[in-house]
């Protein structure tokens, strides 16, 4: 039949789509690998200024503190309430302390902090570097023999690795305290019983697990954000587009890695 060989069948279109998606994934992976290699080279070659690392730590850490604390407070309260209402007489109420501490430290603290930082820190990095890319400032760095990876990328990644675990530690503490106050107000569980319960099932491993997650997120968020920023094309519109995409990628990355953590670390 004439023409039928011209129009691709549904299966062919599907395969072409898969091939395209595969190519895109490979391209992103390749670019990220090169970015990481250059960041490591910059660090090893001592081409990263301490001052810009400190500056980024301030921007990412100190300036994010209020929103991170607010999120942790809400997370602690919600966990405490949810847990509290499910208690029947059979289980001693102090177990609530353990539920709150474990949920906050293992999940809520690291994940909610990371999600908040995706918006607060990651989007900002992508928009900032994307703007520099489309206004040719990245090219300008190369043209004057400076390396934008050492100047822009490396300090942000180092700062993320240092700052995010600290923020998560703060979030953990604040979340547990908020949960404790909330337990007293909602189900009348006193602080002493709450802490007794929290300690009962506590393992030092839990904190390690929590901060390892934080470290991984603190690395991933700036890396994805920088990668997306540096591949921005097409003016202000392009910046908007890559920033939105970057937020989606970072959020997915955080959630997927969070799901991968238990099988990798809890065995």
């Amino acid at each position: 039949m004439p023409g039928s060989s011209e129009t691709p069948s549904r299966a062919e279109r599907w395969l072409a789509g898969v091939a395209r998606a595969g190519r895109t994934v490979l391209q992103h992976s390749g670019e990220i690998a090169i970015l990481l290699r250059d960041i490591v080279a910059a660090l090893v070659g001592l081409r990263v200024s301490l001052r810009s690392i400190l500056r980024q730590m301030y921007v990412m850490g100190v300036q994010s503190l209020p929103i991170v604390i607010l999120t942790a407070v809400l997370a602690g309260i919600v966990t405490s309430q949810q847990g509290g209402y499910q208690f029947t007489g059979a289980i001693p109420l102090y177990v609530l302390g353990s539920i709150v501490a474990e949920s906050v430290v293992l999940e809520m603290g690291p994940v909610l902090t990371a999600i908040v930082l995706v918006g607060r820190v990651g989007a900002r990095i992508t928009a900032e570097l994307g703007t520099m890319k489309v206004s040719e400032q990245i090219d300008a760095f190369y043209s004057v023999g400076r390396d934008p990876v050492s100047i822009l990328a490396a300090p942000r990644v180092v700062a993320g690795i240092i700052v995010v675990p600290i923020l998560v530690a703060v979030a953990n503490l604040v979340g547990i305290l908020a949960g404790m106050v909330s337990a007293q107000l909602t189900v009348g569980l006193g602080p002493n019983s709450f802490l007794y319960g929290a300690r009962l099932y506590w393992q030092s491993w839990d904190l390690f697990y929590s901060l390892t997650k934080a470290l991984v997120f603190g690395f991933t968020i700036p890396v994805v954000a920088i990668h997306m920023g540096l591949r921005t094309e097409g003016g202000a519109e392009g910046v908007g587009k890559t920033t939105t995409q970057a937020v989606m990628f970072m959020t997915l990355a955080v959630l997927i890695m969070d799901a991968l953590f238990p099988p990798l670390l809890l065995d």
């Binding site: 090219d139 300008a140 043209s143 004057v144 023999g145």
Partner: protein, 260 residues
């Protein structure tokens, strides 16, 4: 004796989604003022960027001062970038640095490290004066506080502060009003002479380009549609060249009305 070209583009090919450059062969000789014309999107900036390796061609190579940009080692690229000043279309000043710091980045890192602060300050000062800016007034300003014309001048100062042998100008007058356009044109001519550099100027402004350059080319359809003297360009009977000249003249008239 034939002089050796300072820049050689050899069979430069580049495609993004569509082919942009399809085999550019071009030699630029010492001391030239070379004008590159072409419609918007023709690939002028892409070609200019290959000169210092900001864009990597799919095929072909560029040689600067006998050094290969794409097949030499990294040190060659660094030396080339030290010797070439690049003036970006919208100046591309670093947003977070003030004017002094912006111009300072134009000094090659190795030289900068070996210099004391006073010498650096003097070089920056001189570069700003060369582009007719008052160093006292602008030095501590951030790019956001400057007008378009001033940004362009700071961008030029950054390109010349290191004492380049070659200057690459990407649309130095686009977006400027007629007064600023004339000013920047005078500067290009004066700086090229004073600094004894070779200049490649990408421009929309055909009249200005023909007036200042000793040789011009027109990029069209991924190739050099025209290459020769300004006189030959004016006399060219090539319908595509003619159409381009007429269209750009009409656009320039519209721009003039819009900016005045």
């Amino acid at each position: 004796m034939q002089t050796r070209p300072v820049i050689r583009y050899r069979a430069v090919h580049k495609a993004f989604d569509l082919p942009v450059l399809e085999g550019i062969d071009l030699d630029i000789f010492p001391g030239e003022m070379f004008g590159l014309f072409g419609a918007s999107g023709a690939g002028k900036s892409v070609l200019l960027k290959t000169t210092i390796g900001l864009i990597v061609p799919d095929r072909g190579d560029v040689e600067v001062d006998g050094r290969s940009v794409f097949f030499g080692d990294r040190r060659d690229v660094r030396k080339i970038r030290d010797k070439v000043g690049y003036v970006f279309q919208h100046a591309a000043l670093f947003d977070s640095l003030n004017v002094f710091e912006n111009v300072e980045t134009g000094l090659p890192l190795r030289r900068l490290r070996a210099m004391d602060g006073r010498r650096v300050a003097r070089l920056v000062w001189e570069a700003l004066e060369r582009v007719l800016l008052d160093p006292r007034e602008v030095m501590t300003k951030l790019p956001a506080e400057l007008s378009g014309g001033m940004k362009k001048r700071v961008g030029i100062a950054r390109a010349i502060v290191g004492g380049p042998d070659i200057l690459l100008w990407d649309e130095p007058t686009t977006g400027l009003d007629p007064v600023n356009t004339a000013g920047v044109q005078r500067q290009i001519r004066r700086l090229s002479r004073e600094l004894d550099v070779t200049s490649v100027i990408v421009t929309h402004d055909i009249e200005g380009g023909l007036e200042m350059c000793n040789r011009v080319a027109m990029l069209e359809g991924g190739r050099l549609r025209f290459l020769g003297s300004p006189t030959a360009f004016r006399a060219s009977g090539d319908p595509i060249v003619r159409a381009f000249v007429d269209r750009t003249a009409a656009e320039a008239a519209v721009d003039l009305v819009a900016t005045t």
